[in-house]
Symmetry: C2
Subunit: 343 residues, 2 copies
Amino acid sequence: MGKVIGIGFLGLGVVGSQVISYINENREYVKEVYGMEFSVKAVYVRDINKKRNIDTSDVFLTTNIADIVENPEIQVCVECMGGAGMEETYKAVMKSIQNGKHIVMSSKKCLATYGMKLMEASNQYNIQLRFEASVGGCIPICRSLMQMSKGDEIRKIYGIVNATSTYVLSAMENHKISFSEALQQAKAKGFAENNSSEDIMGIDTLNKMRILLRLGMKVDVDCRYIEPVSIENIDIEATNQAGTIIRQIFYAEKTSAEDICCFVGPKALNSNHMLQSVSENYNMIFVESKHSGLRAYYGKGAGGRETASVMFDDLIDVLQNKYRFEDIEPIICNCLTSENLVL
Amino acid sequence: MGKVIGIGFLGLGVVGSQVISYINENREYVKEVYGMEFSVKAVYVRDINKKRNIDTSDVFLTTNIADIVENPEIQVCVECMGGAGMEETYKAVMKSIQNGKHIVMSSKKCLATYGMKLMEASNQYNIQLRFEASVGGCIPICRSLMQMSKGDEIRKIYGIVNATSTYVLSAMENHKISFSEALQQAKAKGFAENNSSEDIMGIDTLNKMRILLRLGMKVDVDCRYIEPVSIENIDIEATNQAGTIIRQIFYAEKTSAEDICCFVGPKALNSNHMLQSVSENYNMIFVESKHSGLRAYYGKGAGGRETASVMFDDLIDVLQNKYRFEDIEPIICNCLTSENLVL
């Protein structure tokens, strides 16, 4: 019998349920390889009577968040609260950190907004904070930025990290349909949420870029000074030259020791650019460093099972490995336009 | 003043010299972020009088390997011995492990041949063994396979990991020249070594595949039963259909719980495959898992500064993180041919 690790869940939607299934399916594996046993002690939910995809008969469901964040039997807190109630998520995670619990997070909007405070607190309380699932889904971009290019200098980070916009733009291009038709189709096929305005306007992508720039360039960009370009009013035919395709991208470049230029919005990509291969719910992220050169990462950006798999990796990681966030400077970016940006 | 970590070097060629430069350039960074100081205690070289690219006046050079492997002041051993003298490399690394030193390795041939013994010893002696630079250069493929898809099942690993063959095949295709002309060109431009037969025959790629399959699929393939297909006698025009390009690839697929099929050699790639984008000294590796789906990794496969940067990341990693190699089963692969292999 291995060492028992108490796990608490904040949220039990699609992703949370899948993480619990993952834990159940891998009991033997975790015992054998890590000499540990994961025990789900309590799960915070907003509505205790909601029908769930998994059997919760032997899980302690609670609407009292203190049953998680103040529970001394819990060593790791898994946060899957989704987009709504960002302040509630922040407070619960912060309290958990202050109570010495390691954290595996997924809520990108909460991380974009409160990530600096959470990272500082995790250093201060000497706990491990991971959020691989928050950007790029299955792409190991957070851990790569945390572990690679030490003493190197990351000069550019750019890519595609939003599946809704990819779906909409490729449907407009391939089927010559209007923006609103394409968005309807995306919703029908599960590539867009009911309220997808943040995806379309580039705010979701901006949030993800912000998270990556902290880890990669050690800067926290002030989002008030960045105006993402929405894909809503794009004239595909006018913008789209022969051989190019348009995708919503983010782009950040270190132009001097103190300056960063960035762009979030639609960009025409040349046919020889690898980003042209990105379709459906795949994401792709490029990282260019002074010494190690150009690296690229590709993988599924969304999906319940996929996200759960990545959060399970994070769960193992917080118990095995030690990472301290480096000092991160607040910065005001210079904004680029699509035209003066060369990929 | 931080905690002093004694480093010993096995080999001081292009890569070893660059790692020492990297350590010197990053003294302040390592002190500030990790509270440590790297101190190069001794460097094993075959010829003490050889002219070096770096100033070695304050480095203790020795032709006695015991000055490294038996040196109680050394906590981490950095191996950059290159391709020659594989047995000597193995013995020195094994002895270092037995003496409790963490290891950062680069010699892929030694790892392919003796890796199982070295990994077992590293578990037994409770030391950390890293070898990111041995496969895919700057691509964080080893750490990704070590850290990701926990409790998931990796079903396919394939890609391009040999720059010499990429250069030769693309020169033959683009400039309509013969194999031997292309190889001459590759040597002149630094994309091929003087003796490049292992690159051409696919043995180098097979060695790298073997290393990746241990980490990803937890199997050690018996190389005696795999016949790589050389690119030497390829008839580019006959093989090359419209829109395809030919590259030397490796491919391994788990076809059942006990069976793995594999192929190493030239393969015609369709124009919509991302591997078509790989040129010069870039490598690209695809990993497909049951739950997390398809992931791909792209980056520079070679270069002194690039390799040094990755070994420096490993150096930090062995001191921060804990990894135990999982059980690895010996296996005999079924061999595929290029024709019955679908990417």
